[in-house]
Symmetry: C2
């Protein structure tokens, strides 16, 4: 009887592991809470109403359709029993011979009071849709708001976190506002609209060379975004941000992109984790003491060699974990991860991006064109590539956004931060 | 000072009225609860995961952007004071000189017990998304369901109502199941999947010539859909349908397309309405005794000349109501509606549709090609036309559906009819 491999998570790490295992003499089960894989590098464009959610998501079953012996289970994972070799899912338990945990990361609020309750995360497809609905609702409400303080609060959009997601979202949001929304809302005075990008540190994109961070700051500032460095949030409230400096920023929209932590998966004090909840693994991606349990992607951190939490790392780790399982079955010892650095790139806005590939730095139009090509090529599904390309061309040539619907309408009230807990609440009510 | 015209509803009637009034010396306010116009003729394709919701919806502000003196208010309408000439909306009251009520229709459950609670309507964009999520969730649950009765219940999809919406949705759902889903769920035995189309009457498409109704029935049957005529529902339960005949149909999905009624708008016993809640108007579309109040679209029924509740009727009525307001301002008496019958068409499935235009009947490929052209041409927005065309071509040539995501994830539990009340619940919790 073939051995069982369970892969938790259908992100980049999980899918690349499954791909590596297909055709081998193992039974593979992929578990994910969603029935789709999300192309997270473009998630910020959902929040900024640039593309449709369906275009960066792809049904897992379609991806795995042609792979033999791979089955998909859509379920939450409620626990892992590392001694009994089984995974608890909704309505049952599945046992494994080998396990790859690729559950990824979740938003890290660092315990800032009010952040989880009042700030908008941008980490899942649902987050993106909720944020888009909220931003558009703020404009719909502001246009009828007579009180200038209330109106300005509705029109102040604060993004906390000067990393890639914060920068990309700030740029895209600014273009949405100065383009399509400015034409939609004649009655609004757009000098009242503010987009703020805050970071606790002293520079943007700290993982990039300083010259690119500086360029990014200049470009964002030229786009009308207020970049506030050395600004640490002390608390988030319904009405906005309180800074450590004592200043308060009234803002109906606080987007939190300041950090991530490992998804809660192995609740076992014998398993070593970092402060951010990432599981510490060997350079062969195995959990020390549990050679049949692998961790890959954002959730894994290699002892002594922490890699960035990016898609290229995740898919290389996923593939390596899978190959090590096959080596083990074949009686070989597992091989260590050979990480190939593919570089990194961040888009800022129209015709402007930064990229670093090996030692080469790029900025401006060249980096932007590279960014477009790389992201289009890597989107899963030929149809999605075409549709995203049409949307981008539309946005680019017409300075317009076609996707600005408040949809579904369950998220209605912009001042109340409505749907984020609501999606949880729907479930609470039903289960 | 220019006179004020309020238009309630940004559907076909409301938008065509606004278009007619643009450029005239009046101030126009369009009120709608959504910030988008929905192209309802293609709504069933949302439920069947054929196209993305964003592609049949278009922001009202974009549509009205170039029209002078038209302002848009996104709000619920809470009441109309026909004596004081004002409309109550969320957070205020707007007064009018002329009013066009184009609030459309809502699902009519005819008081069938359990229908409103357990059946899925298909009348708004949210309905379509919820239904899509539910159907896909049924398959995800069924694939792990060991009990054959429970599994068959999950895989039985019942559509109540043999009118255009019921027929179109049954056909599209059957193609989704026999195409993409059959390839996705190897583990399922697709002989267990049933699609039922029930109607209380003795034929399908009663508003069409009998020969076309018969053709439709043959086509649907050939596609594997069980057409059950003379089958009246006595009650809908969580577990399925109870028929008047005493039979019970276990079915986790009951879609209700059996009827519509006028949206509740004028709560005034002096205003005459039909049993289905439609407001009875003169042939000039005025409310008798209230010459400055017009009704257009599904909500209006002309005394002695009831017209079908379709998009072509709605937009002609909207335009006529608007022109009558301009005539009144110019001192002319209002003109009666001159209705031009554009014909009617219903698509059944791949290469097959029925159409009637004047006295000519069409069926099969010709009718289907006409249907495609007419619907593509009438979609608002060049970009939407391209995207829908790509999706249709994809579906057609690859027998596939790309849009089959369970999204947003707040609608999770297929057996519980989760999100329909949940979207309401979100609001309850917050307001």
């Amino acid at each position: 009887m073939p051995l069982n491999v369970i892969i938790i998570g259908a992100g980049f790490a999980g899918l690349w592991a499954a791909r590596e295992l297909s055709g081998a003499a193992v039974d593979v089960t992929v578990i994910d809470r969603n029935n789709y894989h999300t192309f997270l590098p473009l998630l910020y464009q959902i929040g900024a109403a640039e593309i449709e959610p369906e275009q960066i998501a792809y049904p897992v079953r379609s991806i795995l359709r042609k792979r033999k012996c791979i089955r998909f289970v859509r379920s939450e994972v409620h626990g892992i029993d590392i001694d009994a070799n089984c995974v608890k899912i909704t309505g049952g338990t599945i046992s494994y011979d080998y396990l790859i945990i690729a559950a990824g990361s979740v938003t890290n609020y660092f315990g800032i009071p009010g952040a989880e309750e009042f700030a908008f995360p941008l980490k899942t497809l649902d987050d993106g849709i909720i944020l888009r609905n909220h931003i558009l609702s703020c404009f719909e409400t502001a246009v009828h708001e007579k009180d200038i303080y209330a109106r300005r609060k509705l029109l102040t959009f604060s993004i906390i976190g000067g990393g890639p997601t914060g920068v990309e979202f700030a740029g895209a949001l600014s273009e949405l506002i100065r383009g399509a929304l400015r034409r939609d809302y004649h009655a609004l005075d757009f000098s009242e609209v503010r987009v703020l990008l805050l970071d606790a540190g002293s520079k943007l994109l700290p993982s990039f060379p300083e010259v690119l961070g500086d360029y990014t700051k200049r470009r964002l500032t030229a786009m009308g975004i207020e970049v506030m460095l050395n600004s640490q949030a002390q608390g988030i409230e319904r009405s906005g941000i309180r800074l450590k400096s004592g200043a308060a920023i009234p803002s109906a929209t606080v987007v939190w992109t300041a950090g991530v932590r490992g998804a809660a998966m192995l609740h076992d004090e014998r398993i070593a984790k970092t402060d951010a909840g990432r599981i510490i693994v060997t350079d062969t991606l195995q959990v020390p003491g549990h050679p049949r349990v692998y961790v890959a992607g954002d959730l894994a951190v290699i002892d002594g060699n922490p890699l960035p939490m990016t898609a290229p790392v995740a898919l290389q780790e996923g593939a390596t974990a899978a190959r090590n399982i096959l080596r083990d079955i074949a009686g070989l010892s597992p091989a260590q991860l050979v990480y190939r650095d593919r570089g990194a790139m961040v888009t800022i806005g129209r015709n402007s991006a930064v990229a670093i590939i090996r030692r080469w730095k790029f900025k401006g139009f060249v980096a932007w064109a590279m960014w477009l090509v790389v992201h289009l090529m890597n989107l899963i599904g030929f149809r999605n590539r075409i549709l995203v390309m049409i949307n981008w061309a539309w946005n680019y040539f017409f300075f317009d956004r076609a996707v600005r619907l408040i949809l579904p309408a369950c998220c209605d009230n912009p001042c109340e931060r409505p749907c984020v807990p609501a999606s949880g609440k729907c479930r609470e009510v039903q289960v």
